[in-house]
C-alpha cells in the first residue's frame, strides 16, 4: 500500500530522510526502526573530510531554523570504510548525498560510491553554506547539467539531483538536470536566510547567512514541487518543512512521488515513522489502494 519505486529504488514507504538531518541513520536507531524507513539519505559526503563552519551553526526562527553547518563530514573514504558497513546491516535503501568543489569531484565521488550497499546517489548542487561548489552549481542551468552528466558518466546507480530554491526559475533548473540525465529530482534544499542579534548588532550565525528549513518553508516547497511536476517526467522527491502526514500528503498531491523529512526529525525523532503511518491511514480512509494514487492529484 505504501511501497513506491523511485528511479528504480524500491522503498517500503514513500517517506525518506533528508540529507543532513539524520546523520548516517544509526544516530536515530534508538528511536525509529530504520528498516521501516523508505530510504535513508545520509549526510552530505565530500571527497576529503571537512570540519564545517566555525562559530554558531544554528538559529531558531519563527516555525523554522537557519543552519550553516558547512558540510562537516568525515570524507568518502571514511564513509566507505567505517560507516557503510554498519548501514548495510539494515534492510533499507541507502542514498549517499554527495558534494564536490569541482565538476570532476562529483565524478570521482560517484565512481567511488558505486559499490554494493548503496542504492543511489543524490547530487547536492544546492548547499548554501560552502564557499566552493554546492549552490554555485545549482543556480545555473549549464553548470547543474554538467555536474549531472559527470556523475552519470561515472556510475550506473540512480542519480537524484537536489535542487536549490534560491533560483529565479526552478522549472528551468529542473528541465536542465532532467535533460542531462537525472533519474529523479529532489526539492527543495534550504532557502538562504539571515538572523541578527539586536543586542550585539551581529549576525546570529558564525557564517553570517544560513539555510532556512522547517514548517516556515513548506508553502514555498509545495509550490515548487507543483511547478516542477508540471514540467518534468522524472519522479520528484518533495521536501521542505514536513513534520506530519498531512504535510507529506500535500507534497504528494502537488506531484511528489516520495517525500523526505528533514528538520521534522529534530522535533520528532520518530517523524519518518509517524508520517508513514499517517499516510497509510489517510489512503485507507479515502478508499484508495496505494499511495501512488495521490501523486499529482491536486485539482487546479
Amino acid at each position: 500500500m505504501l511501497a513506491v519505486t523511485i528511479a528504480g529504488i524500491k522503498m517500503k514507504t514513500p517517506v525518506m530522510t533528508a540529507s543532513g538531518t539524520f546523520g548516517f541513520g544509526t544516530e536515530y536507531s534508538d528511536f525509529v526502526d530504520l528498516n521501516k524507513i523508505g530510504a535513508i539519505v545520509v549526510k552530505g559526503t565530500t571527497l576529503k573530510p571537512r570540519p564545517g563552519n566555525s562559530g554558531r551553526r544554528i538559529a531558531e526562527t519563527p516555525a523554522g531554523m537557519l543552519n550553516s553547518i558547512g558540510l562537516e563530514n568525515p570524507g568518502v573514504e571514511e564513509f566507505l570504510r567505517t560507516i557503510l558497513p554498519k548501514l548495510t546491516q539494515y534492510d533499507v535503501p541507502i542514498i549517499v548525498n554527495i558534494s564536490g568543489n569541482t565538476i570532476e569531484e562529483y565524478g570521482e565521488l560517484a565512481a567511488l560510491l558505486t559499490v554494493p550497499g548503496i542504492a543511489g546517489l543524490e547530487l547536492n548542487i544546492s548547499c548554501p553554506n560552502v564557499k566552493e561548489g554546492g549552490i554555485a552549481f545549482g543556480t545555473q542551468c549549464h553548470s547543474a547539467a554538467a555536474v549531472v552528466e559527470m556523475a552519470k558518466r561515472n556510475t550506473n546507480l540512480p542519480v537524484i539531483v537536489k535542487l536549490s530554491p534560491n533560483v529565479t526559475d526552478i522549472v528551468s533548473m529542473a528541465l536542465a538536470v532532467e535533460a542531462a540525465g537525472a533519474d529523479a529530482i529532489s526539492l527543495i534544499n534550504t532557502l538562504l536566510g539571515m538572523a541578527i542579534d539586536i543586542h550585539k548588532w551581529k549576525p546570529v550565525l558564525g557564517n553570517v547567512v544560513g539555510g532556512l528549513s522547517g514548517p516556515a518553508v513548506k508553502p514555498i516547497a509545495v509550490r515548487m514541487v507543483w511547478q516542477v511536476a508540471q514540467a518534468v517526467h522524472v519522479p520528484i522527491i518533495g521536501m521542505g518543512g514536513i513534520v506530519t502526514a498531512e504535510d507529506a500528503i500535500e507534497f504528494m498531491l502537488a506531484g511528489a512521488s516520495a517525500v523526505a523529512v528533514g528538520t521534522g526529525n529534530f522535533i520528532n525523532p520518530k517523524a519518518t515513522q509517524s508520517v508513514a503511518e499517517g499516510i497509510k491511514e489517510y489512503i485507507e480512509k479515502r478508499g484508495l489502494s496505494n499511495v501512488n494514487q495521490l501523486v499529482g492529484k491536486v485539482n487546479v
Partner: protein, 257 residues
C-alpha cells in the same frame, strides 16, 4: 543504554530562585538509567511550531524509586518561558537520557560550578555521596546562590564566591582554587559553567596534575548526533559532537591549555 522519547508528566514546576525554576517530570524509564551529566531534550511547545526546536536541559536530579527526573532552569528566552508555564499533570514530550555523563571515579572530588552550570553538578554530588566531596560555587550575587542549601547536605565542604561579595568571598570561583588544590586532597575535578571559568579550572587541574572533566553547552537541534549543529573543535584536530561525544569531556580533549 537506549535513548528514549517519552510522554513525561509534570510532577511539579516551582520557583527556587529569582527567575529560576525546578521542573520535576515523571519519566520512570529515563529515571532508571540516567547518569549525572546526561541531559533531557524537551519539546516545550507540543502543539505549535513556536518555538520549533527542543531544548537540551541538564538533569539535575533523579529519583529512580519515584520514577522522576528534575531539571533546574533559568527563564531566559522563548523556550524557558514556555517551560515555566507548565503545570502539574501537563504532558511533556521528552527525549533522554542523552549524552555521556561524568565518570564517578573521583573518591575525593572537587566540583566547581558557575551560575546555571551548577545544575548537573547537583545530580553528580548526590551520586558521589558519601565520598568527601567539596563544592566551589560562584554567582553574581547572593540572590543567585539559592544553590547553597541544595548542595549543603551532599558535600563535606561548600565554598561560595559572589562577584559583589554579598555571600561568601568576593570574586570568582577560580580565585579559590589554587589554595584548595595546594592541599593535595582532591583526586578528581568536575566543572560546569561559563567557558572562561571551565578553561581556568582545566588549566589549574593540569598544573596540579588532577584529572578533570568539563561539561559543555552548545546550541543543538537533534540532540542525537545527526545534525552536527553542536560540534566543537577538539585538541586532536577532530570535531566532537557536544550532544553525543559529550556533553561531558575530559578537559584535555576539548580545552586548550
Amino acid at each position: 543504554m537506549p535513548k528514549m522519547v517519552v510522554e513525561a508528566q509534570v510532577v511539579s514546576n516551582v520557583e527556587i530562585g529569582i527567575q529560576v525554576k525546578e521542573l520535576v517530570l515523571y519519566a520512570p524509564t529515563i529515571a532508571a538509567s540516567a547518569m549525572p551529566g546526561q541531559f533531557l531534550h524537551v519539546r516545550v511547545a507540543s502543539v505549535t511550531y513556536h518555538p520549533l526546536l527542543r531544548r537540551p536541559l541538564s538533569i539535575s536530579n533523579v529519583d529512580a524509586e519515584a520514577g522522576t527526573v528534575s531539571t533546574i532552569y533559568r527563564i531566559v528566552g522563548q523556550g524557558t518561558v514556555c517551560l515555566a508555564k507548565l503545570n502539574k499533570n501537563d504532558i511533556v514530550d521528552c527525549m533522554g537520557p542523552l549524552g555521556n555523563g561524568f565518570t564517578l571515579q573521583g573518591q575525593r572530588p572537587l566540583l566547581v560550578g558557575g551560575g546555571m552550570g551548577l545544575a548537573p553538578l547537583v545530580f553528580l554530588a548526590g551520586a558521589l555521596c558519601p565520598r568527601p566531596t567539596e563544592v566551589v560555587m560562584g554567582g553574581r550575587t547572593e540572590e543567585e546562590m539559592f544553590w547553597a542549601p541544595i548542595f549543603h547536605d551532599m558535600c563535606s565542604n561548600l565554598h561560595i564566591t559572589t562577584d559583589d561579595g554579598t555571600l561568601g568571598s568576593r570574586g570568582v570561583t577560580l580565585d579559590l582554587l589554587p589554595e584548595l588544590l595546594q592541599t593535595g586532597k582532591f583526586d578528581m575535578i568536575y566543572t560546569c559553567g561559563p567557558h572562561v571559568m571551565m578553561d581556568g579550572v582545566a588549566k589549574l587541574a593540569k598544573d596540579y596534575n588532577i584529572p578533570c572533566q568539563v561539561s559543555l553547552e552548545e546550541y543543538m537541534a537533534c540532540g542525537v548526533g545527526g545534525c552536527l549543529s553542536c560540534t566543537c573543535a577538539a585538541n586532536d584536530g577532530s570535531r566532537k559532537k557536544v550532544c553525543t561525544d559529550g556533553p561531558v569531556f575530559w578537559a584535555e580533549e576539548v580545552v586548550s591549555c
